[in-house]
Symmetry: C2
Subunit: 243 residues, 2 copies
């Protein structure tokens, strides 16, 4: 029996990968994942069997990984960011109920909250909530409930999947929920294409964020009541005592 | 002028370090940080100048880093986990108001939420909140408000600094806040010494978690209403559609 490693590549699948993730990819003869991320690896690791499925065929991708492991091959299932945060790790456990003999190991990676925070400065120095605005698998009412609860309790908030072509106004609707509890001039940040050549960021107010168009390669940060702009960066202090 | 890199080493400062973090440490002639983490690096990188301060002397540590950079040396300020999550990144920006000419770059690392989740299975597959139970810099009332808000909105919750000798009952008090909204049999997980030889984990109910003694090397995870035990691991499904 082979084993399946679920490997987070970090943002951009480059130098933000962990040493452990790289070792695992070098070790595994079979690499599987979403086409876009697998293509990033092919150049560096040409001598592998690559098995890909497009988006929305995640269950098939898991089945494929277990079938390869049943044949005796160690498999690396790769994801961008951290495989354990809105990634493939959970689905592999669910599909894996049928394959109890095949071992799973999760190799963590830098998720967009951490990678994006590093680009913006230090927005996550205090308690924070991570919320996906994708309503593909979650009712929008539940998403709004979480947005309001997190804003009410003054969390720093990091939004994944802030909008897409079909959901063009979701970020604006999320900002409306925030504005019920947070000031209009709350410091916010947007990071695009974290860890890639085209990486860019912007720091702006919550009021201005509401008017922004974003895409699926964007991660959004909304500060708490103490978040400030220092040296042109978004910085949340660690607590109430001043330096 | 030198430059300061704020480098998250990941849990345990071993193979969970990113390639980028390792490159930066190799590049910088001066390494500074909390004594315990710096000691982990000395063996692998003997030919560096190491400058350390003990806990609670974080401001002095930042000043020391800027002074070294002023002398023209590139400095790596190292932290365990991610320097941007309850780490040193924010404080360096605050202290750095006095040193506007010295560049800061944040190198993200694997934080305990990600590292611990990988050990437990896949608890963070859906929206989650990260809350520190340390009231050193935050009033306990604010911490309780965040605990209740996150529980009420059915977030998965990850607790940092769940207790210490002085704060022996804090985790128990936090569980009481959770139990106002979450079921007694909510699936929870504890991970100790993430990424170290002594690493261990336990999966238990919220009711049982309330009775647990933990320490500062423990990270606690409290599931949402869908979190389940699959193959002996703590797994939160991605959403409401079944596989």
């Amino acid at each position: 029996m082979g084993k399946i490693y679920v490997v987070g590549l970090g943002p951009g699948a480059g130098s933000q990968m962990t040493l452990c993730a790289k070792d695992v990819i070098e070790h595994c003869p079979v690499i599987t994942g979403y086409t876009v991320y697998v293509d990033l690896l092919k150049e560096e690791f040409p001598d592998k069997v690559y098995l890909t499925t497009p988006m929305k065929q995640e269950v098939q991708r898991c089945e494929m990984a277990f079938q390869e492991a049943e044949k005796g091959h160690d498999v690396a299932m790769v994801c961008s960011g951290d495989a354990g945060i809105y990634g493939m790790a959970g689905l592999l456990y669910e599909v894996g109920k049928k394959y109890p003999d095949i071992e799973l190991e999760i190799i963590p990676g830098i998720t967009a909250a951490c990678g994006g925070a590093a680009v913006l400065g230090a927005p996550l120095m205090h308690d924070f909530a991570v919320i996906s605005l994708s309503d593909l698998l979650t009712p929008w009412e539940k998403i709004e409930k979480r947005l309001r609860a997190a804003a009410m309790a003054d969390f720093v908030i990091c939004l994944y999947n802030p909008s897409s072509k079909k959901r063009a106004d979701y970020l604006s609707r999320a900002c409306d929920c925030m504005l019920e509890y947070k000031r209009k001039d709350t410091v916010c940040g947007i990071v695009r294409n974290i860890g890639r050549r085209e990486e860019s960021y912007e720091i702006l107010t919550l009021e201005a964020l509401k008017e922004k168009q974003t895409d699926m390669f964007t991660t959004v940060f909304i500060g708490n009541e103490q978040t400030d702009i220092i040296r042109g960066k978004m910085v949340t202090p660690r607590g109430y005592r001043n330096v």
